[in-house]
Amino acid sequence: MDSTLNYKRIVLLIKRYFLENMNYEVMLWSLLTMIFTFIHQPDFFSSILNLSGILYAVRQYKSLSHNANGMHFFMIPTKQTEKLFTTILLTTVYYFIMTWLVYLLGSVLGGLISKFYLGTSMDIKWDVFTTLTHPYENGMMLTATNNTFWQTLSKFTIFQSIFLLGSLYFKKNATLKTILSLIAIGIGFSIIELFIIQQTFGEQSAGLQSFSLSISSNKLDSSYGWIAQFLGVLLIPYLWLISYFRLTEREV
């Protein structure tokens, strides 16, 4: 794998993207600004970021399903690493920042509309990455904060890398096929998890005595949640690497 990047070519690829997708970009960000003008809740920001981001990621390699477009794409004199790097830059960094900016813009516009037309106070929540959650434990409601900036970004990037790979892997209906694959993988992992839990906890017997081992899911989350997060972050470069190989091996 040749990982050296020529920044001049990357700039040219970015320029190519924006010149060829100018109308799409204008429409997308106008639409999102409009949505955020009316609904500007941090939870909603996260959902919109992930959902629209998926569609944005899948769109990047959609052209490869069309033979002539695919031929044209691969004939552009750049390395595959540069093409992939540009796509990652656009789908992750650019998309994240732009969604954040249009959220803030939408919030300000929404706040102004509320103030001038409805006479209500301009209530804007700038801290979009911190949300309040209310988990229950032992019958008591606890208030906790989650969704920090890094958590939001890593979750978003994981989604992006999965769907980017999906768009390279599946020739048609990449979004649907990637979702179906994720469901299949999820079911597979759930079965393995259930099997492990069943073998480890629950009713056990040793000779004439039987005993029960149990674990609280909240405790499991708080004790080992970081492992899941760490593995999730590790998944990102892993998926990018597979995407790279998929891109280099793709024929049109």
């Binding site: 020529n6 070519r9 040219l12 320029k15 190519r16 010149l19 060829e20 997708n21 109308n23 052209s63 069309h66 033979n67 002539a68 477009n69 695919g70 031929m71 044209h72 794409f73 691969f74 004939m75 552009i76 004199p77 750049t78 390395k79 595959q80 540069e82 280099t248 024929e251 049109v252």
Partner: protein, 279 residues
């Protein structure tokens, strides 16, 4: 410039398309690539440009393996495909986007070729142009990139009659000393007086690869009302003006190559003709 040795290729879950194909092409020539439908002409162009990968054998293009899709190789190859991609941009934006990828690109040449094709406004959106006009823009751009290797798949399909002549003049005017142009087509009349060599594909292989000079030396093309009794042509077929014939050029006479006749002759009498060139 292009070296292909013992190349095998087939598309996934499909029959063998190319088998033990060997081909060597030099710079400074315009090659006409001919063959029946499904013989693998377009696939051969794709293999040369690294869009598909051989199942066996080696390809070397400009000192690179096309499979690696090296940018140094790609900036010296321009492929004008039969089917065009979607370009949601104007002609001037097309130039703005893609010209910087080709170090030897010449904007003046592009403008000149566009003028010759009578495309006056560079503000026109490419996707709104007719198929023929799109082809003209791509041919003009391809020629202006000044790449060492120019691959054209059915370039004259969709071009109107005056444009076909303009296309021939443009390609012929290209400074060719270090360039190799491969034109794959069924429109053999469009290649007359343009190409320097003829490559014919048949049954997954290169059946014939000879320069036009060598063809003229070895073969004599004639057309008459009937075949003279004392003559024994290698191949003859009915034509609009009588009978078109190919003879061995024993007396070193000069004649114009009838590509269509040569193609049909090769399919019917390949051993006889190939033997003449082997000697």
């Amino acid at each position: 410039m292009i070296t292909i040795n013992n190349l095998d290729f087939h598309y996934p879950q499909q029959a063998q398309l190319l088998e033990s194909l060997t081909l060597h092409l030099q710079a400074g020539k315009i090659h006409g690539l001919l063959g029946k439908n499904g013989e693998g002409k377009s696939t051969l162009l794709k293999l040369i440009s690294g869009l598909v990968f051989p199942t066996k054998g080696q390809i070397n293009v400009l000192g690179f393996k096309p499979k690696e899709r090296n940018p140094e190789m790609l900036q010296d190859i321009y492929f004008i495909p039969e089917e065009f991609p979607e370009f949601p941009v104007s002609i001037s934006n097309l130039e703005k986007i893609y010209a910087p990828f080709y170090p030897k690109y010449n904007g003046e040449q592009f403008n000149k070729y566009l003028n010759e094709f009578e495309i006056s406004s560079k503000k026109s959106e490419l996707n709104k142009l007719s198929q023929g006009q799109k082809k003209k823009v791509m041919i003009a751009f391809g020629l202006a990139t000044n790449t060492k290797l120019l691959l054209m798949d059915e370039p004259t399909n969709g071009l109107d009659i005056p444009s076909k002549g303009q296309f021939r003049r443009m390609v012929a005017s290209v400074e060719q000393s270090d360039k190799c142009i491969i034109i794959s087509t069924h429109q053999v009349r469009d290649l007359e007086n343009l190409i320097d060599s003829i490559i014919i594909m048949e049954q997954h292989q290169i059946l014939f690869n000879q320069s036009t000079e060598s063809i003229c030396q070895k073969l004599l093309f004639k057309e008459s009302e009937f075949i003279p009794e004392d003559k024994n042509p290698i191949f003859a077929e009915k034509s609009l003006r009588g009978v078109a014939q190919i003879y061995e050029n024993i007396d070193n006479e000069s004649s114009t190559i009838d590509i269509e006749l040569l193609f049909n002759a090769l399919l019917a009498e390949k051993y006889k003709i190939c033997q003449l060139f082997d000697n």
